[in-house]
Amino acid sequence: MKKVSRSHPLWFAYCLHRASGLALVIFLPVHFWVLSLALNRQAQLDSLLRFTDHPLVKCAEFGLVFLLAVHCFGGLRLLALEWLPWSSQQKTFAAIAVAGAFLVSTLFLLQAL
């Protein structure tokens, strides 16, 4: 099996973008189904929501928020790369900075509330 050395930032960004997208598309139908319980099966929805109070679930939720943020900002990075006249290195750093800032501020907000 031929392998190509791929340890450069843009390749990692590609992997992360694809992995986060795939994870989100698997999560979404579950998310939609849980929400649809609100119509006629509110008791079931409530018990599922109580289940999400569990710390492990909270960790998983944080993971999902992170994946969404990473996918969104990675996507913005791609749009900038394709449409704006910045160098690719600048854009990668910009995306990392923004994503990092977003993460920090989200954590802060979650703590503060």
């Binding site: 694809r18 997208g21 795939l22 989100l24 598309v25 979404l28 139908p29 998310h31 939609f32 189904w33 929400l35 649809s36 319980l37 609100a38 119509l39 509110q42 929805l45 409530d46 929501l49 999400t52 109070d53 939720e61 928020v65 969404l68 943020a69 969104c72 996507g75 913005l76 749009l79 989200t106 907000l109 979650l110 509330l113």
Partner: protein
């Protein structure tokens, strides 16, 4: 196997979703404070045209974007091609659209 049309749909749906995602994240963070209950969610969204349009638009955009995204993965990593690739793409899109709009209806429908 992405041509200009699929590329444009992918990029446009992505751009549309940026405000949707940001607002959704903020709403989530506020809503999750102090625990989450069905009543709490519904008190905010039930009977609301604004939320229906917001989440309805979000669901349509994500159905397009995710279907094209998994189309690429199905082709590049699993070698799915030709008619089956199209069937797969449309199925994923339809599934997300249907379950998504059902969820939007569930949380925004006016109580009887």
């Amino acid at each position: 196997m992405l041509n200009i049309t699929l590329y444009l749909l992918q990029r446009v749906s992505a751009a549309m979703m940026v405000p949707f995602v940001l607002v959704h994240l903020v709403v989530m963070i506020i809503a999750v404070n102090g625990g989450l209950t069905a009543t709490e969610i519904l008190s905010r969204t039930q009977g609301s045209l604004v939320w229906m349009l917001f989440y309805g638009g979000f669901v349509i955009a994500v159905s397009i974007h995710a279907a094209i995204g998994v189309r690429v993965i199905a082709y590049e990593w699993f070698g799915l091609n030709g008619r089956w690739l199209s069937v797969f793409t449309w199925t994923v899109g339809a599934l997300l659209l249907f379950t998504g709009l059902q969820a939007v209806h569930a949380v925004t429908a006016t109580p009887l």
